[in-house]
Amino acid sequence: MSETNGNTLISLQDLKVHYRLGGGLFTEAKIVKAVDGVSFDILRGETLGLVGESGCGKSTLGKSILRLTEPTGGKVLYHGNDLAVLSQSAMRDHRKNLQMIFQDPYASLNPRMTVGNIIGEPIRTFGLANGGSVDTKVQDLMETVGLSRRFIKRYPHEFSGGQRQRIGIARALAVDPEFIVADEPISALDVSIQAQIMNLMERLQAQKNLTYLFISHDLRAVRHLSDRVAVMYLGKIVELAGGRETYADPLMPYTIALISAVPVPDPEIEATRERIILTGDVPSPINPPFGCPFHTRCGYAIEECKQIVPSLVEIKPRHLAACIRINAEHPQIEANAAAGMGAIGEGKGISEAL
């Protein structure tokens, strides 16, 4: 998996975030595997979309790359350093280049600070400007994200949700980063405002050659913004491919169901199309099922799916999926199931996985 070539900006290798939950004198602690062995490369200048349902670990993954949550295993390679094991002070030197935009623009801005101070703080902290030139830089940034320069003395509550998200974006841009984790940046916004923020993010990417990890449960937005899409389920990446391939030709049964569940804003299509309805909820990450994490809801699950952990492997060129019922020769699960094929893909059995 680690084809670290010149174009890779950040490379995740078997990244893990496990939490201990409870545990006392007589009770055993439970382990929550929020992120469980994730490996992929984020390429310079691309938008990598990360989709999955709530509780799948996508936000934890985003935060652990920036060390806002401590990884418990694996590597985050960035410019020759492993961010996962850097000391806090060494990590601080990298923070200038690695920024985050949050979902809730209401919660992530200090209500007692003016916009000027919110955006100016990172500029002062990193000594990028001083004195009066800070305000000028702040106002330039405000203009860049589509806020009036006059608003510099205002407080967050005086802005609408979309404007607050612009403030959050300006703050992230203040230190001239090269990589931004955007965690559900449009979910809390009105439909007409979502388009504005997505366009802004794309324009800034082109201007400043930014690399995004775009985390969202909104598959339409992810499709629109992302060059490549990673699908996450219960702490694991189950499919990774180009944006077009993920939507036009999903291979892993969970991705197939996920994409089929997205309502299409076209009554003609909705009237005729068959939707795959998954039964049940996402299992708890406290006690994830063994084998394929998806087997409890999968219509194609066979006995082996409970015993073999599927590996994320290349099924088609640059199209990876984790499912033991498909392989490069037979990539279509529906056809394979119809032909009565069993476990044909790569995976790890119980003894190897433990």
Binding site: S192, L278, T279
Partner: protein
């Protein structure tokens, strides 16, 4: 059910020129300002709008759930199956609400009591409205949980709301809402807080229950994808007004209002290539307390002209079922037809 005998040729709900205003520190907020629509028996009507458009207030008005003060239905008629809802004393309204009209909300936790087992909450409804005794109510509660697809329903009856996942909680609320076989179900953003695979389950459930029980449904949402597959007719609301009203297919194919057009175009289409700039409606949703004279959408509209800044737009008839609030509705409609032909 034999009791479902209606006289007014198939219309279950009729709202005429409804105005619901709120007194606030900023002055009077006209949250809903003169809206009219009809809902036929067995029909699903979608109400689409952004925050502050008045879509939720409309339906709280229909249920007579507007907190008064600060809110008040200042004028208009709401007729539910020949009953004048606005004229009903509150105790009679209470007998209709939950029995003949029911509502499900975005967040089930706000309408389920966290301290009571769900069996108690489900049984309460039919004991009150259908005069069930404990045994009957218990049996009915169990039947409803099974109807909405809760696995292991018998054991789950004794659970508290927090022991259910978000999707399951929404099912419990739907079970409660449908307990008395209501004629009208109002679903206010019923799937907004849910994941997409769970959303698909809940929408399928509502569709299925509707076709089995013949319930009329009002579906309030900001998601055009959701209304596309679920509704026969759609109302688009903006700043407390109905901006456009049309059969679902017609609204999507040939919108006659610039706001509707903008909304439809600003949703990313998965079939399109990545990276193309999205159409965006400029500006912000309006502050209903400070509307400009003329059309409330003027500052965000791509084809605004002088008249839009001076005069409030007329509600133009495109055909019997299709109306649009715009000075240039006919032109916008013609534009849409051309664009459709060009595709």
């Amino acid at each position: 059910m034999m009791a479902a005998f209606h006289m007014n040729n198939g219309t279950i709900l009729s709202v005429k020129d409804l105005r619901t205003y709120f007194q606030t520190e900023d002055g009077v907020v006209k949250a809903v300002d003169g809206i009219s629509f009809e809902l036929k028996k067995g029909e699903t009507l979608g109400i689409v709008g952004e925050s502050g458009s008045g879509k939720s207030v409309t339906n709280l008005s229909v249920m007579r759930l507007i907190p008064e003060p600060p809110g008040k239905i200042v004028s208009g008629e709401i007729t539910f199956d020949s009953t004048d809802v606005c004229a009903l004393p509150l105790d009679e309204m209470r007998m209709i609400r939950g029995k003949r009209m029911a509502m499900i909300f975005q967040d089930p936790m706000t309408s389920l009591n966290p301290f009571l087992k769900i069996s108690t909450q489900l049984m309460e409804v039919t004991q009150l409205h259908l005069g069930h005794n404990k045994k009957q109510a218990h049996a009915h509660a169990l039947k409803m949980l099974k109807t909405v697809g809760i696995p292991d329903a018998e054991a789950r009856l004794d659970n508290y709301p927090h022991e259910f996942s978000g999707g399951m909680r929404q099912r419990v609320m739907i079970a409660m809402a449908l307990s008395c076989d209501p004629e009208l179900l109002i679903a206010d953003e019923p799937t907004t807080a849910l994941d997409v695979t769970i959303q698909a389950q809940i929408l399928e459930l509502i569709k299925d229950l509707k076709s089995r029980m013949g319930t009329s449904v009002i579906l309030i949402t900001h998601d055009l994808g959701v209304v596309a597959g679920m509704t026969e007719n759609i109302i688009v609301m903006y700043a407390g007004k109905v901006f456009e009203q049309a059969p679902t297919r017609e609204l999507f194919a040939t919108p006659a209002n610039p706001y509707t057009k903008g909304l439809l175009k600003s949703v990313p289409d998965p079939a399109h290539e990545q990276g193309k700039e999205l159409y965006q409606i400029p500006g912000l949703p309006p502050d209903v307390a400070r509307l400009p004279p003329g059309c409330p959408f003027q500052e965000r509209c791509y084809r605004v002209e002088d008249i839009c800044r001076r005069e409030f737009p007329p509600f133009v008839r495109i055909n019997d079922d299709h109306h649009s609030l715009c000075h240039f509705a006919d032109e916008v409609y013609a534009e849409s037809i051309q664009e459709k032909a060009a595709k």
